[in-house]
Symmetry: C2
Subunit: 167 residues, 2 copies
């Protein structure tokens, strides 16, 4: 496998994984491209490399910036803007975990708390609803707490500590 084949395989695999996890393909592929690029890239560069339109590129770059894993860079003396990826894998993981927690997990936890907190009326179906949503609430809340602890440690705490524990 040569450079070009490897690059294409990586970009398309990353795009496919994204899709499976609810992230759109273009967004994941732009990230993949920037992740392996030694230099920041312009919008033109990205459009050309991935064969996607200007609008698509712009919208997805904005999302990647909202996620905090891609940054705008301006080269001195140039009008054009360049885009660069966060390059540290631990920081990438932390950022993704943090954002998914904030946007997706926390709101669900809130609903689970509300739902599992309704008053029992003695019927079997109500008892089951309370019991089962409470269990889910506790799981989600523990997992989220854990994730946030991990995410707020220095970068490779997770690898160092957990691997020792588990191996």
């Amino acid at each position: 496998m040569n450079y070009t084949e490897a690059k294409e395989k990586f970009i398309s695999t990353w795009g496919a994984l994204g899709t499976l996890w609810g992230i759109n393909k273009a967004m994941a592929q732009i990230h993949a491209l920037l992740w392996i690029s030694p230099e920041p890239l312009s919008m033109e560069d990205i459009m050309e490399e991935l064969h996607i339109s200007r609008g698509n590129t712009s919208m997805n770059l904005r999302q990647l910036m909202d996620w905090g894993i891609v940054f705008k860079e301006s080269k001195p003396g140039e009008r054009k803007e360049y885009f660069a990826s966060e390059k540290d894998v631990q920081e990438l993981a932390r950022q993704v975990a943090k954002e998914r927690s904030r946007r997706e997990i926390k709101p669900v936890i809130k609903v689970l708390r509300e739902v599992s907190g309704i008053e029992g009326d003695g019927t079997k179906k109500t008892e089951e609803l309370i019991k089962q949503t409470k269990a889910l609430y506790e799981l989600a809340d523990n997992a989220d707490t854990m994730m946030n602890k991990i995410v707020n440690q220095e970068s490779n705490w997770i690898t160092k500590t957990l691997m020792k524990l588990i191996k």
Copy 2:
């Protein structure tokens, strides 16, 4: 919030979360419905409750069974088949983690190993590709190993051990 409101809120929230994580809404909602149902439900019950077609119900029940989190039950003396959810939250988490690892993470790890294993040619871009995909490979491989260890422990190892460690 009364029983019906709580049930509907739970089902729709669970469906929305599924969507965000690449699981289709009907599948997530069927799971939610069975999760809180004190008794196994028939296909008719599910169709009626969620207002979805027979075909849709059948296909998504099959998928839930493939994931190992819903089971077919036949009541003695009845022709109809009934469906019941795995009820233990720890077992649910283990099963989901196990399947996502097998279907989605493992194949990506394989690609990352291949891609990061190409021979360097001294160019900057090739070095960067190798370095960055290797970092991702190591992260994914560690995370996956960890997940599988957790998943293969007795059910609440994760809660017991990790929470102690982290709190």
